[in-house]
Symmetry: C2
Subunit: 218 residues, 2 copies
């Protein structure tokens, strides 16, 4: 079975070749940066439907790249997203990655009527981490609604909100609400789909682009 074990760089290069060929056959054409984000999400999910679902506010990708090049902190809703983000590439830009869902007490959530992920985002805000940050919501619509509240009611201004929660209750509504903001750049996936793997793929593409690396690098 050793013949099946190829070098990671070759596996990645071949994978992106297949993805691009199939996207081309399906008639998709995107600008280079958008293509980089979309193809990496497809690489992580094997789901070409994301080519139709991913939407960006105007210039959201350049905003995200520039923020990372200024060492923007990255704040996530859940630990699966935190740990999936490439720490070496983030550190190389001086960016730190944060998730406070595990630091939230039962009292915090009960007192404020918040879910744990939403309370984690509020804790990040109290620590001053959301301003000019890349805020990444891969799981919880409640966390995304909290971020939107902080933007609208408290004037918090992240550099970019990656809002791609997955699910069946309030998920579409949370992403619709994000996409109506014009005060903050955003990425969303329309509809129910999204998730930790999608969020991670998006941020890892931005980190590659911020480093000036080809998007299919390992």
């Amino acid at each position: 079975m050793d013949d099946k074990i190829e070098r990671p760089a070759e596996i990645a290069a071949q994978s992106f070749k297949v993805i691009r060929a199939e996207m081309h056959e399906m008639g998709y054409h995107f600008a280079a940066h958008q293509q980089a984000v979309i193809e990496r999400v497809i690489h992580s999910t094997a789901d070409f439907e994301f080519a139709d679902l991913i939407q960006f506010s105007p210039a959201a990708i350049p905003h995200g790249i520039a923020a990372l090049q200024r060492s923007a902190p990255i704040v996530t809703d859940v630990n699966m997203v935190r740990i999936g983000i490439n720490q070496r590439r983030a550190q190389g830009l001086g960016s730190t990655i944060h998730c406070y869902v595990g630091d939230v007490s039962a009292e915090d959530t009960a007192a404020n009527g918040l879910t744990r992920t939403a309370a984690g985002l509020h804790l990040a805000h109290e620590k001053g981490l959301l301003a000019n940050a890349i805020v990444v919501i891969g799981n919880a619509p409640t966390a995304l609604f909290s971020v939107i509240d902080l933007i609208e009611q408290q004037g918090v201004r992240p550099a970019l909100v990656v809002g791609v929660p997955v699910g069946f209750v309030n998920t579409i509504e949370s992403k619709d609400a994000l996409s109506q903001l014009d005060s903050v750049p955003w990425f969303i996936t329309t509809g129910r789909k999204g998730g930790s793997s999608v969020a991670v793929a998006m941020v890892n593409t931005l980190l590659r682009l911020a480093h000036g690396e080809p998007s299919e690098a390992i």
Copy 2:
């Protein structure tokens, strides 16, 4: 926006109600344990295609539940899977969760011609952790091929292999090879789809079932 923030238990109950209703409309009928695994994967991905893609070897779910009730270790290929597995429920059964991808040196991989994830599985084997374990491959076909080699060539016998890597190169082949084993129980997703979120949903369902909890519990 506070009206959108509901209690997590209510959100989960409503989500599973929607999933079951839509599966029923689509004509899907599964035995209770299989339904529990499939609906939690759909809950994590919003992708009903998994109802067609998930396959189990005979009695794989009872084997997995019994192993967890005997405190089987859980060994994962990547840290996103490790951290997504519910640690509280695993600890409650005496199960520990392991991932060695971060402990592999460049020399280990170069010397053996292995990817980092595959070398991580070999390291787990050297530590005696694969026998009677729940082995969970959510990302890397190379890691799954290594597990299959250890089963076939060294007689290693995990209690269950959850083999759901995602991707475009060798992924389908790795899952086909796993599904041809009759010496070890397995879960797979046929085709390209799979991934960390799918693997996590499957193992978290087994942990719930091993605790005797309703599958839609938080």
